[in-house]
Amino acid sequence: MSFPKISRDITKEIEKIKVQFLIENLELILNREKCVGCGTCARVCPKDAISRGPVGMSRRFPATEDIIPELYDPKLCVFCGTCVVCCPFGALTMKKDGEIINLADIPLVAQKVMPKLEFETKKLLNDRIAKQWAKATVKVIDEECAKGCGSCAEVCPSGSIEIAKRPEHGWEMSKNVEIVDEDACVACGACDNACPTGALILEITEVHTSGEFEERYWPPLLERLKTLRWSKKEEAAE
């Protein structure tokens, strides 16, 4: 018997990972109904404990039990709570000794290592509520698009992406992906995360924060949030 003990429960509603140390036990719970697979937690994690899973598949067939949009590695996680604070949909919760930790009580927020995120709440499709704390534009590279797989439109929680129908005449040109409603976009980056060929790129322009922050922690994290993209990461690894 050795510590930490790790246990993992998956049901259709939640994914619960419990890490039991000698003195305390910590849990990270993902609400699978709220999660859209935007990958903000993966982009924000300072320890690389979360990485991108099969996003499109998990959104298309949400009932399949073993498919989850985020791959979480409890051995690397230090339970800092950055992902819990940053998740735009409030899908992640952390528990300590069986009690839910409030957002304000997370050490990084309480000790002012992270600034306070200034967000506005938005109502989205399917009764989702999102907190938007960044502004972004989505750039479409039409050459890279695989034409009609529809992952981005399937995943987008605000319904601001549409796949154009084929034109009636052969000589008419149409865009493959159209961003219909830029104001409705929540800047979550789900489309970027789900695109299998890297045709959609999320460019974060503003992040709304206020209050003090630690110089050694927050600026590198912001840099990581803005630049880390899975399609680019694989290229860099090669």
Partner: protein
């Protein structure tokens, strides 16, 4: 790099090619190189049955988008999330 396992039910697969045509990564490779074989495809039909192709050294791999699962008329494909070690 992540590899997602594609499981194909050999009894129900008819080899109709729908998964090969619908796969967005196959499409991109086809446009770049104008052919599909073991070196650049993710899934291919061989001997009347669709076969997923894995290799650690491959440049392209299954992305887990689930388009093939949606398009398969026989519902013969499943995708499994493999934990990396």
């Amino acid at each position: 790099m992540q590899i997602y396992e594609l499981k194909i039910n050999k009894n129900t697969c008819t080899g109709c090619n729908a998964c090969v045509v619908s796969c967005p990564i196959n499409f991109n490779e086809l446009r770049k190189q104008s052919f599909l074989n073991d070196s650049n495809a993710v899934i291919l039909v061989k001997n009347g049955i669709a076969i997923p192709i894995y290799d650690d050294k491959r440049e392209v791999n299954c992305d887990g988008c689930g388009v093939c699962v949606k398009f398969c008329p026989q519902v013969a494909i499943r995708i499994i999330n493999v934990e990396k070690e």
